[in-house]
Symmetry: C2
């Protein structure tokens, strides 16, 4: 069976390793349109959702889980290129506290606004300048759980393929439609499709619970410290706020997004 094994790479300077490592860099990700995933759950969900996997890397010494081993065999048999990495090199590729011994290079998938038809009863999310990739990944995970139809990345500074974001998304990245666009493009898409834009803001006048989300809706959320930009607030139809107790003026942006999306999804399901 040895002839079926992927080649072993244990040299720090091997091009097959340095190519993988270079995908930790945002510029290389942007330039190549590729990104890294790691862990059995992530790779399995990528396969399940038909993500465009380019190659696979494993560390057989860590890949002790039978389901993970089966997954690795299945991917090898499918003809995907793969390498086996030494434990030290594998370790360098992942942020995980407990690496699972299987990872992959995946092609980024971006949808265009013109391909996106605003469905009746649709729910979308728009994110702007989220600073922590962990927060962005948690938001993408919540978007899947609430049946969001697609996520707009407003502006050019958000990188949903950052390793910490990919990790926090727990595999939800593969099932989501992602669109990168300017505020102007977003505005035109929403207006032309009759989609109502709801912005989350501590200065919002409307309690999020008092609004009836009867129309196709897109929720906009912004930066952890600064909130949404003036530009985003201007293109919004409603500014909603989550009422807070005591002297508390804010909550974590991923928690706020969750509270709002679950309310919108509940109303959609029950109205």
């Amino acid at each position: 069976m040895h002839e079926n094994k992927s080649p072993l790479v244990d040299n720090l300077h091997d091009r097959r390793f340095t190519t993988l490592l270079s995908l930790q860099n945002p510029h290389t990700r942007s330039h190549t349109g590729l990104y890294l995933i790691e862990g059995i759950r992530h790779v399995a969900r990528a396969v399940e959702h038909g993500a465009r996997i380019q190659s696979v890397f494993t560390d057989p010494s860590r890949l002790t889980n039978p389901f993970g081993q089966k997954l690795a065999r299945r991917l090898r048999k499918s003809g995907l290129p793969g390498v086996r990495l030494s434990p030290l090199l594998y370790r360098d590729l992942t942020l995980a506290a407990d690496p699972q011994g299987i990872g992959a290079v995946v092609q980024q998938q971006w949808a265009t606004l013109s391909s996106l038809k605003p469905a009746r009863n649709g729910l979308w999310l728009g994110v702007e300048s989220i600073e922590s990739p962990g927060n962005l990944g948690t938001i993408i995970r919540t978007a899947e759980a609430t049946g969001v139809n697609g996520i707009f990345m407003l502006g050019s500074d958000l990188d949903p393929h950052d390793p910490a974001c990919v990790r926090a998304s727990m595999g939800s990245l593969f099932s989501q439609m992602l669109m990168r666009c300017t505020h102007q493009e977003f505005r035109e898409w929403a207006r032309s499709g009759g989609v109502v834009t709801v912005a989350s803001s501590p200065t919002g006048l409307v309690d999020y619970k008092s609004l009836r989300y009867r129309w196709p809706t897109v929720l906009l959320v912004g930066n952890e410290k600064r909130g949404l930009s003036e530009q985003s607030l201007e293109i919004s139809d409603y500014l909603v706020r989550i009422p807070m107790c005591g002297r508390c003026d804010s909550i974590n942006v991923a928690v706020a997004t969750g509270v709002l999306l679950f309310e919108m999804e509940y109303q959609r399901r029950n109205n």
Copy 2:
């Protein structure tokens, strides 16, 4: 005015510095009952809530914000012991990407169960085995925003004074009543006070929205991967679940806690 300045410490081996640094260690925190906070917002909120500040440390080269400088002067004038640290030493004390030049040593405050009277209409939170200190801090921040009366730390493995937890709590730690207890003690407190225990679980039979939270209620949330222990599920009166779309089986624990607490708080405010 020089006689009023705190002593400058720039030697890595200075006891005043090593004592501060030792509080990054969970055993030292547990042994001394002290912990570190950093940043203008954190120190200001500690003062505001009457937290027991033991000493202050500053890095004058970073403390450029006028409000922060005023805060440092006010604390020095109040007679609190303080040191000025060299930029390099200060940097070692904080996890912040952008340290603000003022921090403090604060005494932990733990409430006892016997001192905690279950109020009519009360809302509490119980947490068990949360692995990520960032998640725990985000949960504590959400608890303040939803007016939670106090947080039970079930078991001995949770450390709300971990620097990453303190940081994510954004100052909410000082306004919260924290209780450390066993499951048995918690159960007795809830039963004797007529407090209903609601556990969050993906296997829960009750949709969290369908329950009417009419009674004094405590919400229990558990570990990121394993959820709540058998022991916690057994002492719970209701197991509620957050319904999810598609094939999604879970969301981040801090997001789930936020969704549940904001629903409970809303019902409390409107029923």
